[in-house]
């Protein structure tokens, strides 16, 4: 199983949108996909299920070792896609995670998920590389960094890279799969220039070719609790995330070369 974290230092860059739609794209391709919400805001659940507030989820598992992965996995109408909601994070927010305990539980959880025969686990995280997000990154195989195509977003890139470098000290197996430009507004000069500046700034292999545009359709999709690709006018977005999935599959290196290649 491959575990991917979607993370960024800056908030509001489209992490949840990327996580939901990427998970949907992987599930459509036939991969057994689990989308986990580790953001205490619970944005994944709020985007996709009305009952999310009542669901036990990721933070319940962190706070109580008797909560197994099976108990918190929620199936969806798509047989290959399941969710783990954020759950009740108040205890974690009050007390914080004990050093080492959270990481241990995240690892145990991922081991359970792997035992349930999932092919890929995509974890949406809260902004900033600390707390539970740091523990998630310490346990994942790869990380995808959405980067807003706006000047302020691009200026935050050094901080993000430094934080990722620190995370790689903790988890040397963490593969930086790439930066995904999000919220690109073609008609806005600053947005276009920011995207170009980021491509100039970073090595070509670090920035994904696929770009997620800023589109009202994403707002409408989340209002209806659907991935954007399921919307009536969502063909273009569907193609965008399929392209991104293909690009990622080419980059994913299985942690254990003895096991069959993930991309087959």
């Amino acid at each position: 199983m491959i575990t991917l974290a979607i993370t960024s230092q800056k908030g509001g860059v489209g992490k949840t949108t990327l996580a939901i739609n990427l998970a949907h794209a992987f599930a459509r391709s036939g991969r057994r996909t689990l989308l986990v919400d580790s953001d205490p805001q619970g944005s994944v659940g709020l985007s996709l299920t009305r009952q999310s507030r009542h669901l036990s989820g990721f933070y319940d598992m962190l706070g109580n070792p008797s909560v197994s992965a099976e108990k918190i996995i929620v199936p969806t109408r798509m047989p290959t896609l399941s969710l783990v909601a954020s759950g009740h994070s108040s205890a974690y927010e009050l007390g914080g995670g004990s050093m080492g305990v959270t990481l241990h539980r995240v690892r145990c959880f991922l081991a359970e998920v792997e035992a349930l025969d999932y092919d890929i686990c995509i974890i949406d995280t809260a902004a900033g590389l600390f707390g539970a997000t740091a523990d998630v990154l310490s346990a994942c195989n790869g990380v995808i960094v959405p980067q807003q195509a706006e000047p302020l977003g691009v200026r935050s890139v050094p901080k993000m890279l430094e934080a990722l470098a620190r995370m790689r000290v903790v988890n040397p197996q963490l593969q930086v799969l790439g930066v995904v430009l999000t919220m690109l507004k073609e008609e806005l000069t600053e947005s276009r220039e920011s995207a170009a500046a980021l491509r100039n700034l970073l090595p070509a292999e670090m920035v994904m070719q696929t770009v997620v545009p800023r589109d009202d359709l994403y707002v409408r999709a989340s209002a209806r609790g659907l991935p954007v690709g399921v919307m009536e006018e969502g063909e273009e977005s569907l193609a965008t995330f399929d392209a991104l999935r293909s690009e990622l599959e080419r980059r994913i290196v299985p942690a254990n070369p003895e096991t069959p290649d993930y991309a087959e």
Binding site: G95, P151, R155, A165, E193, A197, L201, L202, P203
Partner: protein, 371 residues
């Protein structure tokens, strides 16, 4: 033109090198965790007896990198005027002998060089060294263990504080070393490291251990005094121990703990960090609520069900130590009278030892109003 809104805010070379580092596979070679954050220029720790030569190429590279960074950040206006770095001489690197070791001719030591970049257009050639910054060659270094400040630079006033555990030299030794001073007329700065004294030398004065006002009850050797002696002016650990004995007799408790206002455990017979955290949270919430609704309001007893037949009764008590929290594991929640009685006894046990042998009723009433 590329986006100035972005490029002027970033050091492109730095960002690119960070990104390239992230794309590289992690090295398989084992490394020490402390080494990892120093980057590729980190050449390792030196040790007494280990001699590390700083390569001239490495020094040049380091200076060049710094100049490039300063230039791209706009600190250096005319990069081309930066003076060339002086060529490495044929002489061995200047050594800094460690006092007490073998002669300075044994081999080179580390020479720490920090490249200084002037923010003006004209930069002094690196080969022109001011006398104040002149480093004495190895052969002229005196084995004296002192640092002479450069003229015009006021030495930092000695701190009145010493870190705990610092070695206190013998006064006789200090007097002797102060006599071996250097010639004050010298302009050169001669930096010679002070000889490292072994910590366990004869000049170390044994310091009495600093004792916490609290002690774990199990470490108290004396047998628990009878309940009546809780009110006697005993040291705090004994009083709390006595209180624990009294508690066990009065209440069918399985175990209990006491923690102070910082969450530090004073007495712990429960051994559950989670329960302590829950108890503190409840106690602080109750204390805040008590302040909000009025001192005389009855907020009821604080208890949490922690098992099929187990309840943790939380009894917060204000004292001159701050809010002290008692957690008692019982089968059923305690009655309000029992809680009040335990709270009073705890308050008395925590009270100042200088109190009279019988509890002062006025003080008890005063303390009660905090609950």
């Amino acid at each position: 033109m590329q986006s100035e809104a972005v490029n002027q805010w970033l050091d492109a070379d730095h960002v690119r090198s960070l990104a390239e580092g992230l794309l590289e596979p992690s090295p398989e070679a084992p490394s020490f965790p402390n080494d990892k954050m120093f980057g590729s220029s980190f050449i390792g720790y030196t040790d007494f007896g280990q001699q590390v030569a700083l390569l001239p190429e490495r020094a040049r590279q380091s200076l060049s990198d710094a100049q490039n960074r300063a230039s791209s950040a706009g600190i250096l206006r005319e990069k081309q005027q930066v003076a060339p770095v002086s060529k490495p001489t044929e002489n061995p690197p200047i050594s800094t002998p460690v006092a007490g070791r073998a002669s300075v001719t044994e081999g080179p030591q580390v020479l720490a060089t920090t490249p200084v970049t002037e923010p003006t257009a004209k930069v002094e050639p690196a080969t022109k060294v001011e006398p104040a910054a002149k480093v004495e060659p190895a052969t002229k270094v005196e084995p004296a263990a002192e640092i002479k400040p450069a003229p015009g630079i006021a030495p930092a006033p000695p701190s009145p504080f010493r870190p705990l555990g610092q070695v206190v030299p013998d006064p006789a030794e200090v007097e002797a070393s102060s006599g071996a001073d250097v010639d004050a007329s010298q302009d050169e700065v001669v930096v010679v490291p002070e000889p490292v004294k072994p910590v366990a030398s004869e000049s170390v004065r044994p310091r009495p251990p600093i004792e916490s006002p609290f002690k774990i009850a199990s470490e108290v050797d004396d047998p628990a005094p009878p309940v009546r002696e809780v009110f006697r002016p005993l040291p705090l650990p004994e009083r709390l121990h006595a209180f624990g004995g009294w508690l066990m007799e009065q209440i069918p408790t399985r175990s209990y703990f006491i923690c102070d206002r910082h969450g530090e455990i004073v007495v712990d017979e429960v051994g559950s960090e989670k329960l302590v955290k829950v108890a503190r949270t409840l106690a602080h919430a109750s204390s805040s609520a008590g302040r909000q609704v009025g001192e005389n309001a009855n907020l009821g007893s604080l208890h949490v069900k922690i098992g099929p037949d187990r309840v943790m009764e939380v009894i917060p008590r204000r004292s001159h130590f701050g809010l002290v929290v008692l957690g008692v594991i019982v089968q059923r929640p305690l009655s309000q009278d029992a809680v009040a009685s335990v709270s009073r006894a705890l308050g008395t046990a925590l009270a100042e030892p200088a109190e009279p042998s019988a509890p002062d009723q006025r003080q008890l009433e005063q303390v009660d109003r905090w609950d």
